[in-house]
């Protein structure tokens, strides 16, 4: 049944390509004719095609790397995050991809993910650190399955082709509209352009301007309409791959409940993500201009799938939620789809909290390996300081905006501690025992304001201005720290 989707996609690709190509050619012709009524049209078409070819070549040669770099993604190996790697491999098998996708982590707290790949043989999945922190195994599987479906159904391909076309159209019309500002006061030009009366020339200009304004809008709407439908289809395929609709549903719930902006996302990369990263909470975007279908509706569809996990069941749930029977999936594909039962949830550890902590530890370790240092702001945000930062700079907290001085001595201690914990992990009990026996820790307060310092275990402790006790207990290792004034 996936073949139907792929075939349909390919047909769609061609249609889209044709329509957008026509728009581009007409645009080129009209704009060219404005400058020279006889030969300008052809020149305009050649110029527009030239821009398109250039953008295509640029994308084909290293578009993937550019996108990943813009998004701030780092490639990882299996030992950095075994679970993520395993889940990607599982979905690669389920989707029948010919090669293992590269796995990337984006160093951002906002939970989101995307996949790219012009060919299924050469694809990549990127998830943010925030996503890894929050999702459990089934949810992560749902998200990765959604992304793998994009690769499997050739969505990435289609969207790339469409994106290039859209880009060319926007570029051509922008160049034209800008050039109008420098339009020399008319009459000389009319005479030079051999045939055609001045009236005709004026009409041509008017047509060109209208077209230059409308074409990008039209192309964008076309692009977005396709993008939205792809998201539903990818959800449907993801459910079929994982056989577990609740996983993706609760992942989407968690993602939508977090109110952090993804900083690396922009207009170009936004359609790639599983959830539109540019939508601000509370802002009502009109349906036509958004890259993704409303997330609440996606969740509703997934949550109402109770009888089966195949693509037919998704179609049923889709029609139920939309209250009309718009065919999302071609009927020929539906007929072939066989019923698939929903599987049980993967038994998750009861100490799931600890599990998330380990995930966060892994992320921190990854940064520690890259010579990052950690510092907790007064507002509670743990800041990661890159090694390039000079010692007496102040860092402003990205959440509350306070300026924080970097305490050099403390950072060194943390670095040492992290170096220890990279090695084999000591068991939790061993740690506390040796802690209570070892010499007492001491911290001398510098003033009466907010102060942050590191415990020997690496946990950063804070003293408020109101604190006046003699002793502080570290929350993670249980050691006591004497406070001196």
């Amino acid at each position: 049944m996936f073949w139907e989707l792929i075939l349909q996609n390919r047909r769609k690709s061609l249609w889209l390509f044709a329509i957008m190509a026509v728009v581009l050619v007409v645009l080129g012709f009209v704009i060219g004719s404005v400058f020279d009524a006889e030969r300008g049209g052809i020149a305009g078409i050649i110029l527009a095609m030239g821009i398109w070819v250039f953008l295509t070549l640029l994308t084909l040669s290293n578009g993937d790397e550019i996108l990943l770099k813009v998004s701030g993604a780092h490639e990882i190996t299996k030992d950095v995050h075994p679970r993520l790697f395993n889940v990607v491999e599982e979905m690669k098998i389920a989707a029948g991809l010919p090669a293992m996708p590269k796995v990337y982590i984006i160093d951002e707290p906002a939970p989101n993910a995307f996949a790219i790949g012009l060919k299924p043989e050469k694809s990549a999945v990127a998830v943010t650190a925030g996503l890894l922190e929050r999702l459990d195994r089934d949810e992560l599987q749902g998200v990765v399955a959604h992304e793998m479906s994009h690769v499997m159904n050739r969505d990435s391909q289609l969207m790339t082709v469409a994106g290039i076309m859209l880009g060319s159209i926007v570029l051509v019309s922008q160049v034209f509209l800008r050039s109008l500002w420098f339009w020399p006061s008319g009459s000389r030009r009319y005479r030079r352009s051999g045939g055609g009366s001045p009236q005709l020339q004026l009409i041509m200009i008017a047509v060109a301007v209208v077209l230059a304004i409308l074409a990008p809008i039209f192309a964008r709407l076309l692009y977005l309409a396709i993008s939205r439908k792809r998201e539903y289809l990818a959800d449907a395929s993801a459910v079929q791959l994982t056989r577990y609709p609740s996983g993706l549903a609760s992942a989407l719930e968690k993602i939508s409940s977090v109110d952090i902006q993804l900083e690396a996302a922009n207009q170009v990369t936004a359609p790639m993500y599983i959830v539109n990263p540019l939508v601000k909470k509370g802002s009502k975007l009109s349906d036509l201009s958004s890259t993704h279908p409303p997330i609440t509706r996606r969740i509703k569809i997934l949550r109402s799938m109770t009888s089966g996990a195949d693509i037919g069941s998704y179609q049923k749930a889709f029609s139920r939620v939309h209250r009309k029977s718009t065919p999302l999936i071609p009927t020929s594909g539906l007929r072939k789809s066989k019923h698939i039962d929903i599987r049980e949830a993967t038994p998750e550890d009861k100490n799931a909290k600890d599990d998330k902590k380990t995930q966060r530890d892994v992320m921190d370790l990854m940064r520690a390996v890259n010579d990052y240092a950690f510092m907790v702001c007064v507002c509670g945000l743990k800041m990661k300081l890159p090694p390039e930062l000079s010692e007496d700079e102040t860092v402003s907290c990205p959440r509350c905006g306070r300026g924080n001085k970097i305490p050099v001595a403390e950072l060194e201690t943390i670095g040492a501690v992290v170096g220890v914990s990279v090695g084999p992990r000591a068991t939790a009990q061993g740690d506390t025992e040796s802690g209570s026996r070892s010499r007492e820790l001491e911290y001398v307060r510098k003033g009466r304001g907010w102060e942050t310092f590191a415990c020997a275990c690496g946990r950063l402790l804070q003293l408020s201005p109101a604190f006046s006790g003699q002793e502080l207990r570290c929350k993670s290792c249980g050691k006591r720290v004497r406070i001196k004034y």
Binding site: N86, E89, E90, I93, A94, R343, E344, P347, D349, T427
Partner: protein
Amino acid sequence: MFGWILLGLAAAVVFYFVGIYNQLVRLRNRVKNMWSQIDVQLKRRHDLVPNLVETAKGYMKHERETFEEITKARSRAMGAGSVGDKSKAEGNLTGALGRFMLVVENYPDLKANQNFLALQEELTSTENKIAFSRQGYNDSVLFFNNKIQMFPSNVIANSFNFTEEEFFEIEEAGERKVPKVSFSESTES
């Protein structure tokens, strides 16, 4: 003229049958390829089991039968030859591992062990991979067997010794239901 047409027809028929033969070969290779993917995962699981037992032994002193059951199931699974035997033996191993994980619930210290957690993740992932690749394998076997039984490809299949392949079925009943009893509370809301 008539001779040429006859020759053309004969050539078309030959090409047609060559095409069918090639398709059969392609399908058989796909089945083999799919099977090797499952086999990799099965071997991976066999490798994981001793590590798992070794890690757990220190914590679970009074569960000798559980360990014995797993070890036996593993060696039986490793010795199994044909696909049919394998699916039975691997089903047993899956069941034994499921029961083992049930017992583990009683040992919180073991569950906090980092090494054990890593092994558990590997085991879960391997079982998922087996399940997912099993799907693809069975689909390709179904397609291949259909081709062998149906006319006209069955003529070619019979004369060139293409034999039907076996499905790989793990009895899911025991495997899936056992964990449900103990983990039901941890499913998300």
